[in-house]
Symmetry: none
Subunit: 220 residues, 2 copies
DNA sequence: AATTTTATTAAAAACTTATAAATATAAAGG
DNA sequence: CCTTTATATTTATAAGTTTTTAATAAAATT
């Protein structure tokens, strides 16, 4: 049975959602204590999160960012119909989908189903040359060697792999790694690329990330 | 589901477009904040952009150039019927297509579909004589030789190829490469052309870029 | 032949990326 | 609560490219 977390301050709505999900055969859990929420969310080890974007003090968006730093569990944002710009923001900062209040129960269930199906089928293990990339473990395996990658490293590798054979601009990578380009130094990316390269080299993959000066990087 | 960004200051029109696209099974997102727009556009990682050419302060054309510097995501310009010259300009500066206001919904959807299909299937590889041009790799391949081109070189080649068999004026090329013609020396173009020619020569293509004194260049 | 336009070349300038080392921040463990 | 460890970010510096400028040569036009 799949576990779904409900993060919603409107208790009535939360209860309503819980019943809806229960009837649909899920295992819904309402999270109320918004203080320690990020820790709890991860501990729950849920399959999906329903997250209200308009939480009291702590903005729902911040919470989403917190979650995304630590996990890539699917998140559906619950937004108000009138604040349309929020949709944009929530999607851009890593939500998988959103619904507007008042919501249509059928549509919500369909979206949940769609996302769960998608995220469960997505293979966490991709191969590249003689190397296996395990995103859920954030590591690469090659013959006998196992190299653990950091968050940034695995994200970069993932993005390059997604666009294998194409030049990806530094801006593109940066916007994939960080929420806002303005807050991290441009050179941070260079350093991260450098580290990723040296880890790939350990595993025998030298010069697989080429620099295209003025244009970006390309994974051959 | 394919994501389409709507960049339009006329809120009514934007909403109209959004509903049209939603009904057609796309995931439309209206971008309103025109300040940080280029950054947001990249973050969204959309499949296509609908861009109004007549944005308030910030000209839509400038925005298109900004986008093109960082990404080659397909762009459809939304233009007014009366300013026909704009169509020419927008196409020349990198848009994939355009529609005129008032627009025909069916035609718009068809064009979107066509472009998405094309950009998804179309390998970035164009052929010219015995040479393959790979824009996404910014390189040309000929038999066994692979020559990497710089940003200026690939842009010039691309532009010449787009207008193959036609004379393109130096001014045209310059406005394609640089924001404002007045800031780069006229001779810079000459040098760039010279470098492109020598790279093409390596690959066996001699005298393919002809000079038409007083008029421009032509790719035979 | 003189003028204008374009080519070529070499050097300077501007810019982009790499690397190493230092600092900051966060997570983990006692 | 403090210390250790891991990771992320910044700084500083070096190295490398591309682009531009400038000077000169070549070609075409009048």
């Amino acid at each position: 049975m799949q576990k779904i977390l409900i993060v919603e301050d409107d208790k009535l709505l939360a209860q309503e959602l819980k019943e809806l999900l229960e009837n649909a055969g899920y295992q819904p859990i309402i999270l109320e204590n918004f203080q320690e929420i990020t820790k709890n969310i991860l501990k729950q080890n849920a399959d999906l999160i329903l997250l209200d974007i308009n939480l009291p003090n702590n903005n729902g968006q911040l919470l989403l960012k917190e979650i995304r730093k630590k996990s890539n569990i699917p998140v559906i944002m619950v937004t108000s119909r009138d604040t349309e710009t929020d949709e944009v923001i929530s999607m851009s900062s890593g939500a998988d989908d959103y619904i507007t209040k008042p919501y249509n129960p059928t549509i919500l269930l369909l979206r949940i189903e769609a996302i769960l199906k998608r995220t469960q089928n997505e293979p966490q293990k991709i191969e590249y040359k003689n190397m296996k990339i395990d995103k859920s473990k954030s590591q690469i395996i090659c013959e006998d060697k196992v190299i653990v990658l950091s968050r940034n490293e695995i994200l970069m590798l993932e993005y390059l792999l997604k666009n294998q054979g194409k030049i990806v601009s530094r801006e593109e990578i940066m916007s994939y790694l960080w929420e806002s380009e303005e807050f991290v130094d441009d050179n941070t990316l260079t350093v991260n690329i450098s580290r990723l390269r040296s880890k790939l080299e350990i595993v025998g993959l030298k010069n697989v990330i080429e620099t295209r000066r003025g244009q970006g990087y390309i994974l051959v």
